[in-house]
Subunit: 213 residues, 2 copies
């Protein structure tokens, strides 16, 4: 192994370790954590902290990565499961929902702080949201191969489906209306996606003739 690679690995390990320490501190204090605060807490020099996180944003990015890691793990697991599309889409949303609900119930105050941070520093979460969307597009293609979501543009279907299940994947909503959410209701929504969502105009908008023209 090249010396350079060892250094990279060391830095990566330190980033993870410091991010986990920052999350512990954040949970304990109920406040956002800066590099300076974390260096003081760990009793290490600012210079060492800055070698690991050159910018304040690098710490936030590392925290975001740790926060999303278990959600990505369940998505990966579901995507590799070989379940039929309908079951797979349900598990794709349901397992993340169960995880988020548990995070919330374990520590509502810390959960709300992460939600606020997520709103403020959305740029760091973007790649995880994009990964979820990428997987959802795969699920849509699998559903279409089975005759569901007929004729729908994949990206359009992704957007509509994300809206239909938003309460189950958006941390803010889980904190706010979590007591009204359930796996049973989510299953009914996923069944409605598979049995009632397609490209044709079903008549809700009342413009069928215009669209057909």
């Amino acid at each position: 192994m090249e010396p350079g690679q060892v250094g990279e690995k060391d830095i990566d390990q330190q980033r993870r370790r410091f991010a986990l320490e920052a999350m512990e501190l954040l949970e304990r204090t109920g406040e956002e954590v800066t590099r300076a605060r974390l260096a003081a807490e760990l009793n290490i020099a600012r210079a060492r902290m800055e070698a690991v996180f050159p910018e304040e944003g690098d710490l936030l990015e590392a925290i975001t990565a740790e926060w999303f890691a278990p959600k990505i793990a369940v998505m990966d697991e579901v995507m590799g499961s070989g379940l039929p599309p309908r079951r797979k889409m349900y598990e794709f949303f349901a397992r993340r929902f169960a995880l988020l609900r548990k995070n919330f119930q374990d520590d509502p105050a810390t959960f709300r702080l992460y939600v606020e941070m997520g709103e403020r520093y959305f740029e760091y979460a973007q790649s995880y949201v994009d990964l979820g969307d990428h997987y959802l597009c795969e699920l849509i293609a699998e559903a279409q191969a089975d005759g569901h979501l007929a004729g729908m543009d994949v990206d359009y279907a992704r957007s509509v489906i994300n809206q239909m299940v938003l309460s189950y994947i958006q941390p803010y909503l889980i904190a706010m209306i979590g007591d009204r959410l359930s796996e049973d209701k989510l299953a009914h929504i996923v069944d409605a996606i598979f049995d009632g969502l397609d490209a044709k105009d079903g008549g809700a908008r009342g413009t069928g003739k215009l669209h057909a023209a």
Copy 2:
């Protein structure tokens, strides 16, 4: 007319007028309005303001009523329209969505302030939310009379449907993801509700046999 009734009417008119003045002030300053601040602005005595709004919450309640009035007007209009259930449910959500989107686009900062106030003083908004739910239950009963939402408990269907269209009726979400929302997507969601949502287990949850047992 009894003198007492005249007084009631006068107070009602003053409540409305002061609430509208408070909303103008709020829009201009970008801050919440108290009775003291409003009395100073209108150059009237605190005692007169307190005769109209005995408690601080009475001002908030009057502002809430004014904010919801146009949304209730469109709901009333749709409920009395005689449209078939699928069209009616679409219009029920779409017209409120169009109104909220316009409110947001006209003045995003003020819209966000109302959203924050709505979260803080949710008690005042509760009766309006309840009215919307009451109407939605009527719509569900009409849809069921036409063979849709088969076998579903009305209150359960109300909860699931509110979740499916949440992005289109929740002001916070309209402010946050408004650019991804459209009448066309909402129409597809309502069509999925009418064509794919019912009491039976469609298989998403993968517990069909357990439920059937």
